[in-house]
Symmetry: none
Subunit: 214 residues, 4 copies
Amino acid sequence: MADTDLVELNDVEKTSGKLGKREQTKLANRESILNAAREVFAELGYGETTVRDIIRKTGLASGTFYNYFKSKEEVFEALMDEGMMRIRPRIRAERIRSRTFDEFIRNAYHAYFEYLAADMETFHIMRRNPNALRVRMDTPEIVAGFEEIREYIEEDIRNGILPAVDSEFLMAAVVGIAMEIGDRMLARAKPDPEQAAAFATTLVIQGYKALQPK
Amino acid sequence: MADTDLVELNDVEKTSGKLGKREQTKLANRESILNAAREVFAELGYGETTVRDIIRKTGLASGTFYNYFKSKEEVFEALMDEGMMRIRPRIRAERIRSRTFDEFIRNAYHAYFEYLAADMETFHIMRRNPNALRVRMDTPEIVAGFEEIREYIEEDIRNGILPAVDSEFLMAAVVGIAMEIGDRMLARAKPDPEQAAAFATTLVIQGYKALQPK
Amino acid sequence: MADTDLVELNDVEKTSGKLGKREQTKLANRESILNAAREVFAELGYGETTVRDIIRKTGLASGTFYNYFKSKEEVFEALMDEGMMRIRPRIRAERIRSRTFDEFIRNAYHAYFEYLAADMETFHIMRRNPNALRVRMDTPEIVAGFEEIREYIEEDIRNGILPAVDSEFLMAAVVGIAMEIGDRMLARAKPDPEQAAAFATTLVIQGYKALQPK
Amino acid sequence: MADTDLVELNDVEKTSGKLGKREQTKLANRESILNAAREVFAELGYGETTVRDIIRKTGLASGTFYNYFKSKEEVFEALMDEGMMRIRPRIRAERIRSRTFDEFIRNAYHAYFEYLAADMETFHIMRRNPNALRVRMDTPEIVAGFEEIREYIEEDIRNGILPAVDSEFLMAAVVGIAMEIGDRMLARAKPDPEQAAAFATTLVIQGYKALQPK
DNA sequence: CATGAATGAGCATTCATTCAT
DNA sequence: AATGAATGAATGCTCATTCAT
């Protein structure tokens, strides 16, 4: 069992800003389910994973699962959103503090590959499951994450910083490079986010400059 | 005399190159299962697909499936191999007739995106299913296809045509770009392989030139 | 206060020796499956019986079967063991209170045929199913039951009470007589254990005395 | 494959008493199926055996089976009858040439155990399959075989050679001893029919003499 | 709220049997 | 008569989900 460090916390202080026993347990259980799900999805892929696999790993009762999520699909989406919600703000921050597109690409790739190395599992799932139903994978959060990058590109095009290239394709290339290189990086004995970021950055920065306007 | 019974007639036909009715049906059924599988996998993803979904689509009896494939996995692999076996010779051919790396990249992307547009389904599956278990997806044929590209890169590095870059990462980038841009292209109302190939080619060709030797 | 919820009530009951409703149902279901299995095995034989036959007879849902037994084989063995576990202690008791081998044979046959008449079904199965795979039938409990008889024989040989006959064959004869006569007895309108026991006893007691030492 | 020495015999001579090619093949196939069935039943038991198992072993096509037998049950019965048809005449012969009941028992056990050692498989099946459905096992031939022994007993009772014992129980004992001792004999490294027969004979002969008239 | 047994729909697979060749 | 692919009913079993406790 993965996480049995749930429940059994301490006494109540409903007046303070702290959480009561009940609330704490609830959060702990929810987190426990998400952690178990992350591991199982990463191991088996979305389609092959069963709710049973997940609850078995939590040590909770089967019925308890349904107090937190309606279905396997719902946990999966929660997981995807969670991952994206962690990386998006970083990329957005990089966007803000970068003065050129080149700088943004460089900083964003750095942020991404470093995050990837630190939180491998979630991103493995994202990579390997784009599958099943892309539709489902297209969690609002995820679509938004991709679209955000595209918007940055279009913004820079409008500002004359980038040539008027096909922004969707450029975003696709940026993302595709991130994904495949990310996979290979994670497969290596000693993942080196720095190297991966440098590689991807160079490729994109040098590449886009020669692109023909649409 | 006429004691040459039907089975022997079939033998005769076999030597003459023609197929008996039985053999024809068998081939047709096999093809039918593969086609159904292609569609269902594309629609539901590998993990969500059931053998029943596949046979339901063929109209054959459930037992018949097992005369042709031992399991869902086996059909899937047959499909993957088939797809890869169609694209690989084209890419190899491009490699042979190309005199520079740049030319090879350009020609290979052309071949790939054109093929993609013509045989969308199989490649959709390849894109969306790398998932489940990457391991399973790693059909010998597929691994070989990727490795072949990597070998071309290393060959050119040895010949001084390319700087001594990380060949695995470059291959990953080439493949990642192909995949993501391919996906976006297929999602468009009027897929334009020519445009996709031009875009990807420019990106890679301009990009790799600036890469630092390892 | 009344926060002692129902589950804890069950715990309380457990310590008091009583069973909660849940536990009662579980026991009842298990018994129900065993009873159904006993009947079906008796009617169809092991090989011909399907798990579905068994659950159909219980009225439970198909999945419920698997909450109690992993397979048909497992119920079968539970049944065999149960039967043997009922008869063995009786035979052992007879052994203890008998002062001669003759007395033991007489008492044991009495106990056996009486038990047989009272619990026909299980022993019918034992008779008719030894078949299928004798191996499987060779539940530890059953092998032990037979071996126990053989050991009594060898003990008496060592003590000079019996001639040094082939103990395995004598055990086989004792068992074979019990089985076949038992079958015939059960097939009669009014099974008469007393008569069967007298018949078998006479045969064995008179017979073994003339056996040649090995 | 067990028996592929079928077919491909020689030319026709329908005029002679010999069998034509067709007839020979037919007999060979029938025999081949029976042999395969004997082996499979002996290995798996009746219930667990499938028609597929049998035909797989013959090397014939699945459809061919049905030219010879309507079902698994039919082959099984053919096999049982065959076995009984081989042993019955021997026992009947012994009956005829024996002048006393004792002599008959002795000779019959000899014949039986010797036959058993020589044709182990069929009798193993008979022993282990009494199971499935005793009804089905009660092939006319088999019932008749048992009844024949019983009739001999009753005849001797009528002639005052035997006390007026329960003839069914005595037959059951005779048969039970034969079966269980037969099993144990076959399980030994070097089956010794002579020893088994001597053992069984002594037991029965000495035993029945003390039986009380009904 | 947590629990975990009950449920029955659904799945993969095997089987006996048929029938076109 | 032999063949072996097609058939679909039947089997063992798993799963998501519910609900009494």
